[in-house]
């Protein structure tokens, strides 16, 4: 370290000497470059002032005493900035460790709470879920029933990041113990509602949408707990309709009833499920309209479901300048035959 200091003090002096002789912009450019390398070598700002003092002493030995004293004054003023600069280094290391820890946790979350998109005859499924921070507070889950039915859960914890992800694990593990393929959507929400109400802070809310698709009957049965409304694309009329539901968010009171609904899904129809991270995108200062989401989906509707959701995500990612405001989850199911 001392050797680096001596080298840099020499460099500084030489550059200053050149500047004093030429007074040209090139010397200023060179000291700017040098300062970047000083910072990388962990040289503190008060050390730079010291280099300046040394250089002045060597280049101008007959320098007025006044100037020498004034430089010592400046040096004293800089010591605190030197401490701050060291704290900055430490903070960068801590931040790096912390981010690394969260990375591991995020990856573990993927392992523990992840789900596989099932293969169901006659249906094309596309799913994308991207967290705003490193840990995802949106949750989704597929289950293929013994009777060939498809169960889809989608949930959103109010909040983002680590607390939301922790809360989500409670949902997942509770559901793990349910015989989902024989429970109805409203029964599942009922059960989860009681789990959440028992366990979770009153300030924490979880929205959820549970749907079951029965391929043999081409019917979709669903219930919602305050979740962002999904959409149904009617292929025959080429129109999108909002899937209207009633149902309180999970966890408010233990005895809430969840209405259950049913709809027919015809060939080429689509069902779109999402979280508010999709519909509450921002374009600069402006919130987008839900029609915009549908427009973008329509634009990519010719693609397979998975590519559709991927492209829609990319569109909104760019729109928000690569800074998601909330966890983004989008699922599209299309009946193919």
């Amino acid at each position: 370290m001392d050797d680096i200091l001596k080298l840099d003090a020499e460099t500084y002096k030489e550059l200053m000497k050149r500047y004093m002789e030429t007074r040209d912009e090139q010397s200023l450019y060179e000291v700017e470059q040098a300062s970047k390398s000083f910072i990388q070598n962990n040289i503190l700002p008060d050390e730079i002032v010291n280099m300046h003092i040394q250089a002045l002493e060597e280049l101008y030995p007959s320098l007025s005493e006044d100037i020498q004293y004034s430089m010592n004054f400046l040096l004293e003023a800089m010591i605190a900035y030197g401490i701050a600069h060291q704290e900055y280094q430490t903070l960068r290391e801590k931040q790096s460790e912390l981010k690394s820890e969260i990375s591991v946790a995020a990856s573990m979350q993927e392992t523990l709470l992840g789900t596989t998109k099932p293969d169901i005859e006659g249906i094309d499924i596309g799913i994308i879920s991207v967290p705003a921070h490193q840990m995802n507070g949106d949750y989704h889950h597929f289950i293929k029933g013994r009777d060939g039915s498809l169960g889809i859960a989608m949930a959103d914890v109010i909040g983002k990041g680590i607390p939301a992800a922790l809360c989500m694990s409670m949902i997942k593990y509770s559901m793990d113990s349910y015989p989902e393929d024989v429970m109805s959507p409203k029964a599942i929400l009922n059960s989860l509602n009681r789990v959440v109400e028992r366990n979770v802070d009153p300030s924490m809310f979880i929205t959820m949408f549970y749907a079951q698709y029965l391929p043999s009957e081409h019917k979709l049965r669903y219930a919602s707990a305050g979740h962002e409304p999904g959409y149904y694309y009617n292929a025959a009329n080429d129109t999108f309709e909002e899937i209207e539901t009633k149902g309180l968010v999970l966890g408010v009171t233990p005895d809430t009833a969840y209405p259950e609904y049913e709809m027919d899904i015809n060939k080429d129809d689509m069902v779109i499920m999402l979280t508010d991270g999709v519909t509450e995108c921002r374009d600069g200062d402006r919130f987008i309209e839900s029609e915009e989401v549908l427009e973008v989906i329509r634009y990519y509707a010719h693609l397979p479901a998975q590519e559709m959701v991927n492209q829609v995500f990319k569109h909104f990612e760019r729109l928000q300048e690569f800074e998601l405001r909330d966890d983004f989850t989008l699922l599209i199911i299309r009946r193919e035959v």
Partner: protein
């Protein structure tokens, strides 16, 4: 707005020329010493990016002088490889970690307004404005 003055960036030496021009304009507008140095450093960073990553490019300066305020506007354009991951390039740490050394977050801090547009294989355009305090 007054007419633009532009500097072509082809060789490392052109970075110095751009700095000089920018500093002179800044002095003329009435920026103080430390702001002149900050402007020169911002120009340096933008010009260096052109020099390092694109074949060639240009930095143009404009004086903005209206009812509300006076300032300097610099636009750095190149038809280089473009920036693939803008989010990552704008993430802090790029400035002093010496990573890829693009230093764009630093430019954003030195100036008052900052806008970046880039397309892979098309090029990059950075616009930055600093107002006289």
């Amino acid at each position: 707005m007054k007419p633009q003055s532009c500097v072509n960036i082809n060789k490392e030496w052109d970075i110095v020329g751009a700095r000089q021009l920018g500093r002179d304009i800044a002095k003329k507008i009435g920026f103080g010493t430390v702001d002149q140095a900050r402007i020169a450093t911002a120009i340096s960073e933008l010009a260096r990016n052109i020099y390092l990553y694109a074949d060639h490019g240009q930095i143009c300066f404009e004086i903005i002088d209206n009812m509300e305020h006076k300032g300097i506007c610099m636009v750095a354009i190149d038809v280089g490889p473009g920036i693939e991951d803008i989010g990552q390039v704008m993430e802090d740490g790029y400035s002093t970690s010496g990573g890829l050394g693009a230093g764009l977050p630093g430019v954003k801090r030195l100036m008052d307004e900052f806008d970046l547009q880039s397309e892979v294989e098309k090029g990059t355009r950075v616009k930055a404005i600093k107002w006289v305090r």
